[in-house]
């Protein structure tokens, strides 16, 4: 049984139940669920939605590689990653990650690894749509517009989490 439970790019809303079911088995005492969702303000600008596109075959390949790395490093973790493409509204989930492990600490560590590597390596891009009608490609390597404003670092889909893992939403 592969420890990579599920890797997929989808265009419809993400069904988190599918991820949870994919990683579940009776040996697992802890399951984390991370959702990245579209945030209303990025870099000081009011966002109305985000259009996600990807180099799809390579994105799937990198997501699979990351899931495999996490599953091996935190064995016997089971990992599921689903990323959505297309145009998303505020509050919609662009990415979902589920990790199951017999113990909570490795489950959380593996999940953190998966989202950080996904943001670093997976060839997916965001075209932000702003309330004022303009659009711009998000470039996380660029300096924020208002340094020190405390609004974020160029990623509109932030770590707004639900389920077992929780990060503060702005």
């Amino acid at each position: 049984m592969s420890a990579v439970a599920l890797v997929a790019l989808v265009r419809d809303p993400i069904d988190v139940g599918v991820l949870l079911a994919a990683v579940a088995n009776d040996a697992m005492g802890a399951t984390t669920l991370f959702l990245g969702t579209v945030r209303d303000v990025n870099d000081g600008r009011a966002v109305s939605g985000i259009e996600y596109s990807g180099y799809e075959p390579m994105a799937e390949r990198e997501m699979h590689a990351i899931a495999t790395e996490a599953a091996m490093r935190w064995a016997p973790a089971r990992v599921a990653i689903v990323h959505r493409l297309g145009t998303l509204s505020l509050g919609e989930a662009s990415v979902a990650i589920a990790v199951a492990h017999p113990r909570r600490a490795p489950a959380m560590d593996a999940q953190r690894y998966v989202i950080e590597e996904l943001k670093r390596r997976v060839p997916i891009w965001k075209l932000e749509h702003y309330v004022d009608g303009t659009r711009e490609w998000v470039d996380p390597t660029r300096q924020p517009r208002e340094p020190g404003a405390g609004i974020g670092n160029g990623n509109a889909a932030s770590g707004v989490a639900s389920g077992v893992t929780t990060e503060a939403a702005t």
């Binding site: 990245g36 996600y52 596109s53 990807g54 180099y55 075959p57 390579m58 994105a59 390949r61 990323h83 662009s94 990415v95 989202i115 996904l118 943001k119 670093r120 390596r121 997976v122 060839p123 997916i124 891009w125 965001k126 075209l127 490609w137 998000v138 470039d139 996380p140 390597t141 660029r142 160029g154 990623n155 889909a157």
Partner: protein, 80 residues
């Protein structure tokens, strides 16, 4: 040799196409390909060392491009 290069997101917008064809010497490297791409119309603002993938794996600047099935120049990624 004639090489087709896939472009995405801001790079495709800048050059006005999702792909370009370049004429390169047989011993060309990724760095050579990037240098030539940056001389294309609209491509001057591309970084000197963008991410490049050969056959869907990230490639080093000194890597040869001959024999590749698919080459892509990849803007800063922003998934999640």
């Amino acid at each position: 040799m004639r090489i087709k290069v896939l472009l995405f997101a801001s790079y495709a917008d800048a050059i006005g196409s999702p792909s370009v064809e370049l004429e390169l010497p047989e011993d060309a490297t990724v760095a050579d390909l990037v240098r030539q791409l940056r001389s294309a119309p609209g491509a001057a603002h591309l970084p000197a060392r963008p991410l490049v993938a050969i056959d869907q794996a990230y490639a080093r600047p000194e890597q040869r491009v001959a024999g590749a099935t698919e080459i892509a120049v990849i803007p800063p990624v922003a998934g999640g």
